[in-house]
């Protein structure tokens, strides 16, 4: 390239100015003054992403905080706040260096001294973090930009843990906040992410807002899933929770809203004849049947296998979703379309297997006591599951009764290990975003710690041992082989029964641009014409 002296001087001066202000050209040129009005899937009430795994708190946190690593659209971890890292050959020392230009919303620079307590607060609550904590000998800040783990044993899943998007991602906070006990819920929201939370406008359960962090320096790479450059294009994001989905849809059609995070397959028809765009979300919804392993009759694997033999994903999806274009059957316990997709051990259920299932029920010596199915009555994604399961059970001679309650009572009831007659349960359903299931260490369905574990109380030390092998494995091939073993074991012991996945749709006004269809709904990159 030919350049005269004046041009060279101008370029040098520009580069010096950019270095002095710490702003990238990318950040400066991509931002506008738009206000994005966004209807989320739930109301924000809790602001502490360590205290709760609630999706809405996590999604809010992705706007305000930054993560050390993030998953791209192919579910591969990519550096976010990290500039580079090194690991010793024995896998026992990991050194991380922060990238340049990171600063909190209060103006203070992000240093390794902030990252260390952020990690130690997080790893006391997150299931994968707990595993990392157990193998860590020391974690310390080496200098302002460098921190280092010294491990007792290799932890090949280090980057996976740091990039883990669900349900408690590792967000970085200022030291004075991160130093708080994880049992103390945070009241102050100060991050280093692309948007600043406007505390004065927080109406819990109703509305809240963010202002663009003008000093944020995105990564240079283009946005890709949850990774890449988080460019805060809109000046302001206003989030409005709608208890009535119909009102939200009417508001979007009437141009009072710009985007609805989640529209059910049924809701799509309301947009016919309008200019609203509908996009199938990158992380579909995965429904499951869960057994209570702590109580008869499902403490007997033969009873669980009997149900597995007759549960057909396609039958459930036809009833729950209806439209075949909106759902797919999926044998993979760690998600279809993810790097860990496999059909190892898959047992395909069908009502053609009724006789075989009845034989298993008889062999188990089931005494005919009706089983108790519990279900929430106020969550649409659950509504068709319990009646469908009741029919399936009836087909193989298992009588049942459905007990309906509202969501918070359901959550509490599902953790009980008492007899159904004493307030417990036998069978329940759980519904996940697929992104919850992609990590063999974090997938709640593979929590096999018995009564201390996730609802259903799967008790399988063999699976816990497989997870330990997985976390120590150093190559992708090694990890994938272990995942196949885990899935075979889960199908054999019937940890739970997957019921297929279906799409939820994001609805957008045509004026919106730069929508990144990430598995977690991130709106930081959105702009409006």
């Amino acid at each position: 390239m030919n350049m005269n002296r004046r041009q060279a001087l101008i370029m040098s001066a520009s580069a010096m100015l950019m270095a002095a202000t710490g702003r990238s050209a990318y950040a400066q040129t991509e931002t506008g003054d738009a206000v994005i009005r966004f209807a989320p899937h739930a109301a924000l009430r809790v602001l502490d992403p360590v205290a709760t795994p609630a999706y809405i708190t996590r999604n809010h946190s992705y706007l305000v905080y930054d993560t050390l690593y993030s998953l791209d659209s192919s579910f591969t971890p990519q550096p976010q706040m990290i500039g580079s890292h090194e690991v010793t050959d024995d896998g026992l020392e990991w050194t991380f260096i922060l990238r340049d230009g990171l600063a909190f919303h209060d103006g203070a620079p992000v240093t390794a001294a902030d990252v260390v307590p952020s990690i130690t607060r997080w790893w006391q609550k997150d299931v994968v973090g707990l595993r990392l904590k157990e193998v860590t000998e020391t974690l310390e800040a080496v200098d302002d930009k460098t921190f280092m783990f010294r491990l007792k044993e290799p932890f090949g899943a280090m980057i996976e843990a740091m990039a883990r998007p669900s349900s408690r991602p590792l967000f970085v906070m200022p030291k004075r906040i991160a130093d708080l006990d994880p049992s103390t819920m945070l009241e102050e929201v100060v991050g280093s992410g692309p948007y600043k939370f406007l505390a004065d406008e927080f109406r819990p359960g109703a509305s809240w807002a963010y202002a663009r962090n003008e000093d944020y320096i995105p990564r240079d790479e283009p946005a890709d899933g949850l990774a890449g450059g988080k460019v805060p294009r809109a000046a302001r994001i206003e989030v409005i929770w709608f208890p009535s989905p119909d009102t939200a849809i009417s508001a979007l059609i009437n141009n009072e809203l710009d985007i609805i995070e989640s529209v059910s397959p049924d809701g799509r028809s309301r947009f016919e004849g309008t200019d609203v765009k509908l996009v199938a979300r990158a992380s579909p919804t995965a429904s499951t049947v869960r057994f209570n392993w702590s109580q008869a009759p499902f403490d007997d694997v033969r009873m669980r296998r009997a149900v597995q033999l007759v549960v057909s994903q396609i039958d459930y999806m036809d009833i729950v979703v209806g439209d075949p274009s909106a759902y797919e059957t999926c044998p993979a316990y760690f998600g279809c379309g993810t790097p860990l997709e496999t059909d190892a051990g898959y047992v395909e259920g069908s009502l053609d297997n009724v006789e075989e299932a009845r034989a298993l029920v008889a062999e188990a010596g089931y005494d005919g006591t009706p089983i108790t199915i519990i279900t929430p009555g106020d969550i649409a994604s659950f509504s068709a599951l319990a009646p469908m399961t009741q029919q399936v059970l009836e087909a193989i001679g298992i009588p049942s009764k459905i007990e309906t309650m509202e969501w918070s009572a359901f959550l509490e009831r599902r953790t009980r290990t008492t007899l159904p007659s004493e307030g417990g349960w036998n069978l329940a359903h759980a519904v996940f975003d697929l992104i919850d299931l992609i990590s063999p260490l974090g997938n709640p369905n593979f929590d096999a710690r018995g009564l201390d574990g996730y609802t259903g109380f799967v008790d399988d030390p063999e699976t816990e041992a497989l997870k330990s092998r997985y976390q120590a494995a150093s190559t992708d091939d090694e990890r994938f082989a272990i995942v196949e073993e885990m899935q075979e074991r889960a199908y054999d012991q019937v940890f739970y029964i997957p019921l297929g996945t279906y799409a939820q749709y994001t609805a957008l006004r045509p004026e919106l641009s730069d929508f990144e269809n990430a598995p977690i709904h991130v709106v930081y990159g959105l702009d409006k014409a």
């Binding site: 109301a43 009430r45 809790v46 602001l47 205290a51 709760t52 795994p53 609630a54 349900s167 049992s183 103390t184 819920m185 945070l186 009241e187 927080f202 109406r203 819990p204 359960g205 109703a206 509305s207 409005i240 709608f242 208890p243 009535s244 119909d246 009102t247 939200a248 009417s250 508001a251 059609i253 009437n254 009072e256 106020d378 309650m405 509202e406 969501w407 918070s408 009572a409 359901f410 959550l411 509490e412 009831r413 953790t415 009980r416 290990t417 759980a430 996940f432 919850d436 709640p444 929590d447 009564l451 201390d452 574990g453 996730y454 609802t455």
Partner: protein, 313 residues
Amino acid sequence: MLRLIVLRVLAAVPVMLIVAVIVFSLLRLSPGDPAAIIAGDTATPEAIAAIRSEMGLDQPLLVQFASWIGGVVTGDLGQSVLSRLPVTTLIFDRLEATLMLALSAIVLTVIVAVPLGAFAALRHNTLTDRLVMAFSVAGFSMPAFVVGYILMLLFAVQWQLLPVQGYVSVFDDPLTGLRHLVLPSITLALVFMALITRVTRSSLLEVLGQDFVRTARAKGNPAGRILWRHALPNSAVPIITVIGLGIAMLISGVVVTESVFNIPGIGRLTIDAILARDYPVVQGLMLFFAMIYVGINLLIDIAYLLIDPRIRY
């Protein structure tokens, strides 16, 4: 009158205490708890127990009650267990929207329902009377959410004359604020219009049959003067009672309308707090509602004194 006010305020204290005990007990007896909400869908029993302990929910009920009521006595309604914001802040943040909605609905009601009821009474047993009564029955029978969605679809989505949802303070932007209030106010007013129309009609019918009205007629007073100067003031007591209680009911009962039109008011806050088992917020709100009822009853009694000199306490 001062004596009346003092007596009523003193009488409110045991009422509030009873409300406090009932609300506290009912909340603790109902299934579900805030710890389960915070712990989330993937919670283990251990995680929920830990949160309960952190929140003090594993303390004996009497200790929890004493701690809460101690704060209330000093004016501290506590802190939301979910958002960590003070309960008083949460309530006062949402109060304006509900008050504006309730007041606009009641103004609309009075403007339409009192003349309509009077009109029906004056044309007693005619087709007009029957039509007004039919409107009254229909208004009372239609659920607010049905009326709300119909109005929304017609006036907002179809004809795009008014906004679908939301609240804008009339103090910040009067015109936009009023536009946002039109549909929810009509929705809310319809039920009360029906009620007040009926009360006005029956109350007026009773008064119109009394001797002093006959005397007024015999003296040649015009019909309008008889209605406005003689009959209506004498039938005002039951109408004012219904309007007063209507205001209290509107403030505490706008849940459906606020949800349909997505207005962030007290009704939404209440339902949200109940579903999330946010105990301090629900308790604070119930005390607040009890206070509203006591206060409005006091205002109604004062209004009686002003309107009807025969009434003495």
